[in-house]
Amino acid sequence: MKDASPTPIRYGGRPMELWISRVLLFGVLLSTAITLAGLALFLAKGGGSGQSLSGLVDQQRMAANFGSILHGVARADGKSLIRLGLLALILTPIARVAMSLFLFLREGDRVFVLITAAVLCILLGGLIASALT
């Protein structure tokens, strides 16, 4: 088989790349803004003054759930705001996979719809299972 002419994949102006890039950028900016606000709030309220890092870690190392994070945010607790920002960061690659699924669906690319759907199921299943246990 002589196939010397490679066929570059073009998505008619490549909206695929553009949309995936936008999802990633949005997730990163949102997460940065929330995490930065949380860290600033934490430091402004005294931060870790008068103790070591390992002392601070022992204090902050506790199981989290979505309700406790939202309650903390409502109390203007810096730690909880940071957790919310980090959650947005963790969700960013998952949102990117979801966007890819939508784009492959729109292109009618059945094989890649299946591949992407399988990846998304494993990711969401893992996140939800870990939140419940």
């Binding site: 070591s52 959650l87 690659p93 890649f112």
Partner: protein, 280 residues
């Protein structure tokens, strides 16, 4: 050192980790874990929690630029992600049956051995004479990227898809077992078996490591091992470093990227060996 000073140091290390991680496609975890465990004496699970955050931050921060600049091959990324996430799932279940010390040693040896074929291609700017295999044809994996150094669009074909996919599955198993990104195996699979241009390999690996890390992030996050005072400076520092790294990669020739990749690969290999032997 007070906690506030430690937070500043971790932020600085995060910038460096994001820079190296985004250029090599390895994520920044290999730098963050020893800093937190050896440097600050923190528990390994807190270090791994922060490392997972750093990998996702490196991946997402740099991928926004790499995808826009067409360096990332999205189709190859999605296909191989199926291998890593499935492998990660198997690894998470196997973790109670296998000794992690021996696995770290095995992983370290694999990385050190694979540095040899990579180093042999040190002077190769672009792979030549690569022809699509059957799978690459069916799945339309070939692609092209605009190379700013050469000044033209570089088209490439892809071979060794089954070998690359299998290696990706094992990369996922290692990730699930050891709580590491295993980005090195991803770059090596694309560079050695599939023979993609080096920048496409690192950018596509960078694209995938975020998804691999996100698959296990939930466990660490809800359990509380992602500690705000540690993970926040890591995330913010890494995002800055990764954005800078993404600006650099498009301007570097493939040869330079490989030149940066090899010593980092050897460093990670040695670190994994030491972790396996209980030294670090």
């Amino acid at each position: 050192m007070s906690a506030d000073q430690s937070i500043a140091v971790i932020f600085g290390a995060g910038i460096l980790a994001g820079l190296m991680g985004s250029l090599t496609g390895l994520g920044g975890g290999a730098l963050i874990v020893p800093l937190l465990t050896i440097g600050f004496g923190l528990d390994i699970r807190v270090a791994v929690g922060a490392s997972i955050v750093s990998i996702i931050a490196t991946s997402s921060g740099a991928a926004a630029a790499y995808v826009r600049d067409h360096l990332t091959n999205i189709r190859i990324g999605m296909l191989l992600e199926l291998g890593t996430t499935a492998g990660g799932l198997s690894g998470a279940y196997l973790t109670t049956y296998l000794p992690s010390g021996a696995l770290f040693v095995l992983f370290g040896v694999v990385l050190l051995v694979s540095a040899v074929p990579t180093a042999r291609r040190l002077s190769e700017e672009l792979p030549h004479g690569i022809i699509n295999d059957r799978w690459s044809g069916v799945l339309r994996l070939a692609g092209s990227y605009p190379d700013r150094v050469i000044g033209e669009e570089v088209a490439y074909q892809v071979r060794g898809v089954p070998a690359g996919f299998s290696m990706m599955y094992f990369a996922g198993v290692f990730s699930g077992l050891l709580g590491i990104g295993a980005g090195a195996l991803k770059v090596l699979a694309m560079d050695t078996f599939m023979r993609l241009p080096m920048k496409v390999s690192t950018a596509t690996s960078n694209f995938m490591i975020g998804v691999t890390a996100a698959a296990s992030a939930g466990v660490y996050f809800w359990r509380g091992d992602v500690v705000p005072a540690v993970a926040a400076p890591v995330a913010l520092g890494v995002l800055i470093g990764a954005s800078a790294g993404a600006q650099l990669l498009v301007r570097f020739p493939n040869v330079t990227v490989r030149l940066i990749f090899i010593p980092v690969l050897v460093g990670v290999g040695v670190e994994m060996l030491l972790r396996g032997l209980g030294v670090a």
